[in-house]
């Protein structure tokens, strides 16, 4: 098993990690966003003050036109300012969130490509894809909504209570009495929301998975005559999931109902308290000093004590989603590389064929168990070597070690006299042409895929390579020729045809060292013949290292090594 240096981290670690991803630029944006939100919140207090004062002036002092005009004018002024503040908050926070997300995406992409095929296989390309797409996208809400709201939910209620304290300490106390309850609420709501989210997500995910699973096998189900059964089964299983989810939700929603209820009751209590105070029925504390202005202002502000908290509760699922996603992202980021290190200012492969020497090479599984030992060969520049042996004898691993994708356990590999670690990143790769048994093409045209071998190649050279690899033979029958777009996973062309495109790419690159891993294993006879003819022409043009368990196909390669002879027992 992989030795993993990272110990399993508790959930707090996830939150801390999420927080640590905020770079100074994003931090500034988030702080400004919060500041704008606070300003908008304070402007709301000002507005409430104006309204209360207006009513007070109007009802108590009588209509003074000048005063009224001032009040209405001020009020009008605050309207665009307040909504402007909200817009700035949303926009800046989103900008910060997207910035953090794209920077993380860049890091993850570099990590995924840097891990290379061997390292990536340890985590799974599908897993990496999920981390780079869905899990990164799940972070947006956390930075854009949850984090700014966290501060707002702290600052705004306290600001309002401070104002209320100034107006009437007993009303402030009433609100404050609700406030100590709020951490309790929040814990309740938090736990509730988290539980709801976790279970609901889990249930929905299971349901989605089930749905996708059945959709993927729909042809099979139909051919087995199971179409109608599938529909019935899906109906009953979704019904069962629904019932289970609802029984969870019935309890979980209660926690937010409690917050809702307490805030409503607090507002009602404040309303009744100030009402009775104004009537003079209450003689305790500051109640007799309540004026219409202070009473109305307290009443107007009371809902705003709870509104930011309610909004925070609504964004709680953003946090839960981000925490869940962060685990997958960190798993990819923390995946250790198993490739040998490179020298930043190291060598670059020459353009002419190079000698390869492998000296006392030993290879081990990730857990440390040696499976190959004492491999030794010298390959002159421009000569060819065939590695044979049954599957599992380590042919691919030897090739990967030469390609710098796998660090040797013991011994050394020299390419053109330099060891793999002496090359700079990309310096070794620029001189190696590789072809495996299962070529992967990228979405785009056939021409684009061939051009990958040499981005600056002219069309004439691309066509030449396509001709030599037998791509032209099938491409001519396609409507758009070499410009035919191939879909996802090479849809539209067969495996044999894809292998020919991969060969054309290799021929275009004209690398000094060519490494082939079972290049004909999955080919039909015609493609195989084409492939072997083209490869035979490479003989002498470059240093050639081939692994195959069908050695008779490569009768023109004289130097051979059977890896079974080097198996570690």
């Amino acid at each position: 098993m992989q030795t993993d240096k990272t110990i399993p981290t508790p959930p707090q670690g996830d939150a801390a990690w999420l927080f640590a991803q905020i770079d100074p630029g994003a931090r500034r944006q988030l702080l400004f966003a919060t500041g704008a939100g606070v300003t908008a919140g304070w402007l709301a207090i000002v507005q409430a003050g104006i309204i209360a004062w207006l009513v007070h002036v109007l009802l108590v002092s009588g209509t003074d036109v000048a005063q009224l005009t001032t009040a209405f004018g001020l009020w009008l002024l605050t309207i665009p300012l307040r909504s402007g503040g909200l817009a700035v908050r949303d926009q800046l926070a989103l900008k910060a969130a997207l910035g953090i997300r794209e920077r993380l995406r860049q890091r993850l992409m570099r990590q995924a490509i840097g891990l290379g095929p061997v390292g990536l296989a340890g985590i799974g390309a599908g897993h990496a894809g999920t981390a780079l797409l869905d899990q990164l996208n799940a972070l947006e809400g956390y930075y854009a909504r949850f984090l700014p709201q966290c501060l707002l939910a702290l600052i705004l209620p306290l600001s309002i209570i401070a104002v209320a304290l100034f107006l009437d300490w007993l009303a402030a106390l009433l609100l404050l009495l609700a406030l100590p309850l709020i951490p309790l609420f929040m814990a309740l709501v938090g736990m509730g929301a988290e539980a709801v989210n976790r279970r609901q997500f889990a249930a929905l995910e299971r349901l989605s998975g089930f749905f996708l699973d059945r959709l993927q096998g729909l042809v099979t189900l139909r051919q087995l005559g199971r179409g109608p059964d599938t529909v019935a089964q899906m109906r009953s299983s979704t019904d069962a999931y629904r019932r289970r989810t609802m029984s969870v939700l019935r309890v979980a929603f209660l926690s937010s109902a409690v917050l809702e209820f307490f805030s409503a009751v607090a507002i009602a209590m404040v309303a009744i308290y100030v009402g009775l105070g104004l009537l003079g029925y209450l003689t305790i504390g500051p109640a007799p000093e309540l004026t219409l202005f202070s009473a109305l202002l307290i009443l107007l502000l009371a809902p705003d004590v709870f509104a930011p908290l309610r909004e925070l509760a609504q964004h709680y699922h953003d946090r839960a989603a981000a925490l869940g996603a962060s685990r997958g992202i960190r798993e990819l980021l923390d995946q250790p590389s198993i490739e040998p290190p490179r020298a930043p200012d190291g060598a670059v492969m020459p353009k002419t064929p190079v000698p390869v020497s492998v000296h006392d090479l030993g290879l081990a599984y990730a857990g440390g168990n040696r499976f190959l030992t004492g491999l030794h060969f010298e390959l002159d520049a421009g000569s060819s070597l065939l590695l044979t042996g049954p599957s599992g004898s380590g042919k691919s691993s030897v090739l990967q070690a030469v390609m710098g994708l796998l660090a040797p356990d013991t011994g050394g590999i020299r390419i053109g006299g330099e060891s793999v670690s002496d090359f700079r990143p990309g310096g070794l790769e620029s001189g190696i042409g590789w072809l495996g048994q299962n070529p992967r093409l990228l979405p785009g045209s056939l021409r684009d895929n061939i051009r990958l071998g040499d981005p600056d190649a002219s069309d004439a050279r691309i066509e030449e390579a396509a001709e030599a690899a037998g791509v032209t033979r099938f491409a001519d029958a396609l409507a758009a020729g070499l410009d035919t777009e191939i879909g996802e996973r090479g849809a539209g062309i067969s495996g044999g045809e894809a292998q020919r495109v991969a060969l054309a790419r290799l021929l275009l690159k004209q690398p000094p060292l060519v490494i082939l891993d079972e290049p004909t294993a999955r080919l039909d006879p015609e493609s195989r013949r084409l492939m072997l003819n083209a490869l035979r022409r490479l003989n002498g043009q470059c240093t050639l290292l081939v692994a195959s368990h069908q050695p008779d196909q490569f009768d023109w390669i004289q130097q051979r090594l059977d890896l079974l002879d080097y198996a570690a027992s």
């Binding site: 009513v55 009224l68 309207i79 665009p80 909504s83 402007g84 926009q91 989103l94 900008k95 997207l98 995406r105 992409m109 995924a112 490509i113 290379g116 990536l120 390309a125 990496a128 780079l132 797409l133 998975g209 089930f210 996708l212 699973d213 059945r214 993927q216 096998g217 099979t220 051919q223 087995l224 179409g227 529909v231 899906m234 939700l249 929603f253 109902a257 507002i267 009602a268 309303a271 009402g275 104004l278 009537l279 003079g280 219409l292 994708l405 790769e429 070529p439 990228l442 990958l452 981005p455 409507a479 996802e488 996973r489 849809a491 067969s494 495996g495 044999g496 790419r505 039909d524 006879p525």
Partner: protein, 560 residues
Amino acid sequence: MKALCYFLRLHARRWPWLAGGLLLMLLAVLAGIGLLALSGWFVTATGLAGLMMAAGASVSLDIYRPGAGIRAFAVGRAVARYGERLLNHEAVLRTLADLRLWVVQTLLPKSGPELSRLRDGELLNRITTDVDTLDQLFLRLLAPTLVAFLGLLAAGALLAIWMPVTGLPIIALLLIASLCCIAWLIWRGQAPGAELAAAQSRFRQQLVASLNAVTELRFFDTQGRHTAALLDLGRRTARLRLQLGQQTALGDSLMTVTSQLAVWLTALSGVSLYGSGVISGPVLVMLVLTVFALGEILRPLPTAWQQLGRLQWSADRLFGLRDRAPPRQMEAAPKAGQPLLMKNVSFRHRDGQPWCLRDVSLQLEPGDRLAVTGPSGTGKSALLDLLMGELTPVSGQVLLGGAAVKSISVARRAENLALLEQRTVLFQGSIADNLRLARPGAGDAMLWEALEQVELAAFVEASQHGLGMLLGPGGAGLSGGQARRLAWARTLLTPGHLLLLDEPTEGLPPDQGRRILQGISDNHPECGILVISHATETLPDSFSQVLLQHGILRSEKETP
């Protein structure tokens, strides 16, 4: 729009749940408005009464009924919220189920190759996402809009009582301004929204392909141009997202400004009405606070309506899955034990494309052992799809027991033909579940016998749960070879007496593949077996081989 309407009608079947949720949502909103308005009235009334009492006047003010009203509104709002959330979640889960069933029922009649195309791409994933998006149609878009509209009406009615001349225009203005704001957002958001959806889908496609081609990229994209272009695409989606977010923020502020202006106008006209003695102070405060409370229900609308583009995109894509062709008539009922006959069939996928098959004839009778070999990409899969009736020949006929294969219902076909597809398809569930898909009533003994024939019995026996061993989605948990053999066992359980096996030994060691094939051939002399394979070394000697090349079928003897 047509597509959205169609799916809305699909929602309509759940109207009791939807209507209940809507009603409770409305009650919660009205209680919220009532709470604020009544509290305002109460506080102002008590304030004035207090002043007058301080001045020595005797005032009688009923504080109990308004107090009770405030408490009722407060509790009512919390209760209505709770009920609304429950009902709406129930409704969403139900419509989600409806949508999923709709998708399955729509996809089921499609031909095999068409479905394979859907499966090969990311398309099925997209369908799943589309379904998840569409279930938001009612809860996030229509319900809040309807509730806001009704809330506006209720507020309008209240205002009309005390300020008929100015109140109604203010509400009308608010309504029109909100509608304009929403319309502007939809209009502005459509192009970037569609662009964003397209960019996201392209980015996803490129990224998944690149991660699968990481070795290729390492050795061919040495300058990192492809990776850089990919990351650029990612940044472009972020820019579009930001642009869209900008519009949402702008729409939100416009809506806030509009609703606050309405409050301002109400206060302004209220003050003049108060000045002329038409309304009292407490009523003035009540009216202002009523309009104030409307802001809360209008605020979510811009964001909700910005989703319209995405919803429409999802609805259109799902709608596009529908078959416009009327369902096929499939009434022919061949007897069991009949031969499968392919007569002079020519086929190509589209006009102008090279022929996959040219004038191919073939017969498979019970007891026959036939192997079709040939290079890949030469129409072997098309041959099988034609035999299964999934594709229609351009010319010629495929007959099962004298009836055209296409005219036989799928269930009947399954009674005659047992297929092992090239791609191994297994399902989430137990081993037994997977096997019984082929023969629902089969006893355990029968399942074990099938597993025995594909050399999988020992493995299943050794596992902790035996036949109850659970597989993940797509049969996860088995190795490639084990999965292949389980699918093979399932094919053996199918009642059909003609076995069509597409690359049955793929993923198996050649000697094991050959051994299993030989065993099946020996154990089922009554069956006709057709194997399609490019691995001739796995074919037992009892199979007569024919070669499919350039669309023409030749027996081995004819080839030079």
